[in-house]
């Protein structure tokens, strides 16, 4: 079951504190954090967990890396402009 490791904890360097596995598997817009393999591979069979519970398409979305900063900001600006237009 997907909740099997939820109570295990680890220190997340991104948020600077302790988190449980549930946080890691839901952190990325309800999908796993893109760092989940590196963070958990020493403690559980994370690759098997991912293969058992996620589709290839979902895993592709998960492991898409962050865009370079300037470009990701431009993307976010465009999204926010569209959201504002819809509200108006």
């Amino acid at each position: 079951m997907i909740e099997q490791y939820d109570d295990k904890t680890i220190r997340c360097p991104r948020v600077g504190g302790e988190v449980n596995f549930r946080f890691c598997r839901l952190e990325n817009n309800m999908l796993p954090c893109r760092f989940i393999v590196g963070c958990w591979r020493m403690y559980l069979d994370i690759n098997k967990f991912l293969q058992d519970h996620y589709s290839e398409e979902e895993l592709n979305r998960v492991f898409t890396p962050p865009k370079p900063k300037v470009e990701s900001l431009v993307d976010l600006i465009e999204k926010a402009k569209k959201a504002k237009q819809q509200d108006d």
Binding site: R14, N29, V70
Partner: protein
Amino acid sequence: MERSMYFLDQKDMPTHWYNIQADLPEPLPPVLHPVTKKPIGPEDLAPLFPMELIKQEVSTERWIEIPEEVREVYCTWRPTVLHRARRLEKALDTPAKIFYKYEGTNQAGSHKPNTAVAQAYYNKKEGIKRITTETGAGQWGSALAMSCAFFDIECKVYMVKISYEQKPYRRIAMETWGAKVVPSPSPDTKAGREMLEKWPDCPGSLGLAISEAVEDAVSRDDTHYSLGSVLNHVLLHQTIVGEETRKQMEMADAYPDIIIGCIGGGSNFAGQFLPWIRDKISGEKPDLRIICVEPEACPTMTKGIYTYDFGDTAGMTPLLKMHTLGHTFVPPPIHAGGLRYHGMAPIICHLYNLGLIEVQAAHQTAVFEAGVKFARTEGIITGPEPCHDLKVAIDEALKCKESGESKTILIAHSGHGHFDLAAYDAYLSGKLKDYAYPEEEIKKAMAEIPKV
């Protein structure tokens, strides 16, 4: 008594930031749009940043004057002290001279206010009333909250909810400086509301917090957004550190043979070494070594290549020339959170490509071992990121012991580790593990980088 601290008088504080873009042997490669393949222009970023910062982002002027109002705020903690690590030298029994410039003495505890203050000032000058940002652990949020207080600007910080709940003292500090701190996801933005609808107990993420902060800024004419790393203007503001150090090293009648610092987004170490690298570029100091240190667990530069890399698997996002491990790389965990970037500041990548700086990798247990040695000799409990500097500095000092050379080593020390004591606890109790990314996995990731 031998001198261990070099103080620069406030009247001698540098009046200009140094812009490396004026002295680059080759200009920075442009940032490309994925569809047009043309460079992204300043107008694309105007909804978020004041025009003065956008101009600095692309400026090739060598010296950019630090506004008097910014210098006045800097004077609440600057110039910072240059230390000679005599007790560490003695413990290592090395003939090397070890200096470190310590940026942990300001009100927010790291180098980050050097740019936060400047960004708040330029926004104020442009008539901006509010600034938004995101924060994870709270360091950047603290620096910006304090800076906005100095310029009477409203500050709103979207703090990742799990940190908001785990780190109440960081939140209280930001609120004491006058910032409004909300847990992300929040009901204040469309992005936050959509997430809360799907998952009411969502603990948040950095990506979502950034989305909320940008959406907030774009939706109001009186509001801008602020970023504390990676961008050229952020590195520019940090050069106050290196410019001060140059004057202090003169006071010590010394010039560094080696400058060492950790690299993540790049703003800390760039602030120290950029003002020195111009001597190497000009040929005046061809033998000056500049060593960037990165975690062995996330070898972005020591094992990466310099190429254009798509930001997503569809290849539709913009392309940027930077060091990368390819878009399938997933770094393993380390305690130095700030070092876990997929890529780093384009300026640093460019200098590395030009052969002007070198990069070394360090294992995290050795890094903390160096941090503990430093704490027990110099007294400072160093943040996990600058512990990387200490590891390589100690290695270089021990090489001097073997060779008998008396080299001068300068360390860029970005701040203390008082909010990272849990990481020290993990090291001291033997819970930290070393992990180097397997060569085979790196080759696999590299094979997927597109040819441009």
